[in-house]
Symmetry: C2
Subunit: 355 residues, 2 copies
DNA sequence: CTGGTTTTTGAAAGCGCTTACAATTTGATG
DNA sequence: CATCAAATTGTAAGCGCTTTCAAAAACCAG
C-alpha cells in the first residue's frame, strides 16, 4: 500500500483523499466524519479518526469553504490598536469566537482611506462569514452595501445612528448621567465636561447624560465648562489645560468622556498645580485596564468591554446561522467604579475617599 | 444574452466566468488580466477591466488560493492586546502589509493553551502564506514544526534563543546599558532594577546590559536592588513597592525593564511618599504611547516598535517569495528618550531636567 | 428466506480560480 | 503571397473539499 509519491524536497501535506485511501473508505465518508455527520457507522468513524490522527491531517480551509462549507472565519474591522480599548473588546471577541472555533481576519479601517467601499466589498466577498465593526467611522454607505448583500455584521460601540443594523453598545447616556450625579452628590457644582468626537454617537449620548444629570441636580449647564475632545489622551490634555487656564473660578471636577481623555485631564490638572482629588476631581468613562493603574486610580464609568465583544460575537453567529434574523440592538449596562480620583467638595483637604 | 438565473432572494456574486462572458473572452484571459500577466492585448485588457468595474467583480480568495494562487494572507500570533505594546508593533505590520496588499489572520496565543502544536499546525496549514509571531511564549517545538514544513515565519521580539529562525528585535542589551549609564551620569549609584519575565530573552538581555553598565561605571551590582517582575504594570507596582519598603537606604533610581513596569513603579514610589523625579528617578523601556502621557513624562529607552513590525513584514515577504532564503536576524537600535522622570542625584530638589 | 426499510457508503458533479498546453492571430520577412 | 516566429487567446485539467443522488449493506417483520 505504497501511495507515497511525494517530491523529494518537501513532504506533501495529507489531503482528504490520502486519509480516505489510508482508511479504506471514500473521501465522502471522511468528509462526513469530519463534519460530524450523523449517519456514519461507529467503527468507520473511529477508523477514519484514527487515520486522521496518524497522518496529522488538517482540512484545507480554502477548499472547504470553496466547496460550500464554512470558512470559520469572521472579519473584524478596528479603528486602531494602540490603546487598551479596542484590545479589551477584542479579548471578549476572541474568547467567544474560540469557543465556536472561529478565526479572525483583522482589518484596520485606515488602510484604504480612499476607496473604502471597495475595501468593505472585498471583506464581504472574501472568505469571512460575517463582519464585526468596532467603533467604526465608516460612512453608512458601507453598511448599506453589506445589508444589500445580506451579509451578516454587527456594530460594536457604533458611530452612526444607523437603523437596521445589529449593534452592541453600552448605556452611555445613563452612565454619564450617573457619573455626573455622583459628582454632584460629592458636592461639586462646577463640573467641566470633556466630550468625545461629536461625530460619534456615544460621545453625544454621554454629553446628553451629563447635561440631563446637571439639570436634574439643579445645576445650570454652563457651556464654557464643556470642551470638545476626541477620545484621545493628548487632546484631552490640551483641552483640559486650556479650560483650566481660561475658566475662573476653576471647575472642581472634570468629567472626561473616556479614560484616555481623563488621563490627559489629570496631567493637565497636575501641571496647573492642582492636586487630584484634593483640588479637583476627575472621572472617566470606559474603565480600560490602565484606569486602575494610573495615580490616583481613576474613578470611572465601566463599560463591559469584554462582554460587549462576547455579545457581539453571539449575535453575529446567530445571524450567520439564520440570515433572515432581524437586526438586534443591545445596550449593556455601565457601572460606576469608584476609585481614588474623585473627592468630596464639602470636605476639601484630604478626606477624599479611597477604596 | 440572458444569463440571469439567480434565485430571487439574493443576487449572486459575479464570478470570473461572468466577467469572461460579459467581455467576450475566456476566463483564462480574465484571470491573466487580473493577475497582471504581461501578454494580453491592450484593448482586451481594457475591455476586461471595464467589465470588472461594471460588474463590481471581486475575485474569490478561496478559489484563487486553492487553485495555487496566493491567498495574500499572513498569520499573526500575538500574546495579548490590552496594552499599546503589541498594538504599536501591529501598526507597523499593518502598514507594510497594506503596501503589499496582504491581510492578517489574527491568532491569540492563549486560545488553545493545551493543544498548542495542533494550533500552529492549523495555522501553517490554513490559508496563510507565512506567520509572524510577536513575543511568542511558544515552546520551540512549535518552531521546529514550522521549520520542518519549511513554512515562512519571523519572530518579533522573540522569546527563545532559537537558532535558525528569522527574528527582529531591538538592541536590548545596549539599550539597558545606556539607560543605566545615563542614570549613573546623573549621579545615581543606588539604581534598582525591575526585570521582565526572566523566561524571556529580552528580559535577560536587559538585565545583562544593566549589570554591565554598573560594572563599567564602577558601581557594585547589589542583588537586593534587583527584583523580578514580568513586564506587567501590576507586578511592577508590587515588586517596586516591596523593594522600597525593604531596602534601606532607598535606591535613588529605579530602572524598570519596560514602560508598564515603570508605571507600576511610579505608583509605588508615589505611594511611599516619594516625588518623581525629585526623590527618585524612574526610567522605563519600550516607549509605548502612554509613556509620554503619564505624569511626569517617562524617560525611557525607545524600541522602534512600528519599525520592528515593518521590518519583520519585509523579511517575511522575502521569505515567502524565496523559500530557500536563509534565516536572518535583525536588531534595531534602541534610543534613549529623555523626558521628565529622571533627575540628577547631585542637584537634588527641583533642578531636574525637563525637555 | 423474502421483500421492504433504514443505514451506511461511494460516485461524481461542482465551488471559482490558475495554469500548462495548444490553437489561433498577427506581424515581419523573403 | 508564403513562411516562420511572436503575440494573444482558448481549452481543459485540476486545487481539496462538500454534497446530492443512488447504490450497497444491514436489519426486520412476516
Amino acid at each position: 500500500m505504497n501511495n507515497e509519491r511525494n517530491s523529494p524536497k518537501e513532504k506533501q501535506r495529507a489531503t482528504i483523499d490520502d486519509v480516505a485511501r489510508a482508511s479504506g473508505v471514500s473521501n465522502a465518508t471522511v468528509s462526513r466524519v469530519l463534519s460530524g455527520y450523523e449517519f456514519v457507522k461507529e467503527t468507520t468513524r473511529a477508523r477514519v479518526l484514527e487515520t486522521v490522527e496518524r497522518l496529522g491531517y488538517v482540512a484545507n480551509l480554502q477548499a472547504r469553504s470553496l466547496a460550500g462549507g464554512r470558512s470559520q472565519i469572521i472579519g473584524l474591522l478596528v479603528p486602531n490598536l494602540d490603546n487598551g480599548y479596542v484590545g479589551t473588546i477584542m479579548q471578549g471577541i476572541d474568547r467567544e469566537l474560540a469557543r465556536a472555533n472561529y478565526d479572525v481576519l483583522l482589518y484596520t479601517s485606515h488602510r484604504h482611506p480612499s476607496k473604502e467601499s471597495f475595501y468593505v466589498d472585498a471583506i464581504a466577498n472574501g472568505l469571512t462569514e460575517g463582519l464585526l465593526l468596532i467603533a467604526p467611522l465608516v460612512p453608512s454607505t458601507y453598511l448599506d452595501a453589506l445589508r444589500g448583500q445580506n451579509f451578516p455584521y454587527v456594530l460594536i460601540d457604533q458611530t452612526d445612528a444607523t437603523e437596521n443594523s445589529s449593534v452592541v453598545d453600552a448605556t452611555n447616556y445613563q452612565g454619564a448621567y450617573e457619573a455626573t450625579r455622583y459628582l454632584s452628590q460629592l458636592g461639586h457644582a462646577r463640573i467641566a465636561f470633556v466630550t468625545g468626537s461629536l461625530a460619534v454617537r456615544s460621545a453625544i449620548d454621554r454629553l446628553h447624560g451629563y447635561k440631563a444629570a446637571l439639570v436634574d441636580c439643579d445645576i445650570p449647564v454652563r457651556e464654557e465648562l464643556i470642551v470638545e475632545g476626541d477620545y484621545q489622551q493628548e487632546t484631552g490634555y490640551e483641552v483640559a489645560k486650556s479650560l483650566l487656564q481660561r475658566v475662573n473660578p476653576l471647575p472642581t471636577a472634570i468629567f472626561a468622556s473616556n479614560d484616555l481623555s481623563a488621563f490627559g485631564a489629570m496631567d493637565a490638572a497636575r501641571e496647573c498645580g492642582l492636586r487630584i482629588p484634593d483640588d479637583i476631581s476627575i472621572i472617566g468613562f470606559d474603565d480600560i485596564p490602565q484606569a486602575s493603574f494610573v495615580y490616583p486610580k481613576l474613578t470611572t464609568v465601566r463599560q463591559p468591554l469584554e462582554q460587549m465583544g462576547q455579545v457581539a460575537v453571539k449575535m453575529l453567529l446567530e445571524q450567520i446561522e439564520d440570515q433572515s434574523r432581524p437586526p438586534q440592538r443591545v445596550a449593556l449596562a455601565t457601572q460606576l467604579v469608584i476609585r481614588d480620583s474623585c473627592g468630596s467638595h464639602h470636605l476639601r483637604g484630604n478626606e477624599h475617599e479611597k477604596n
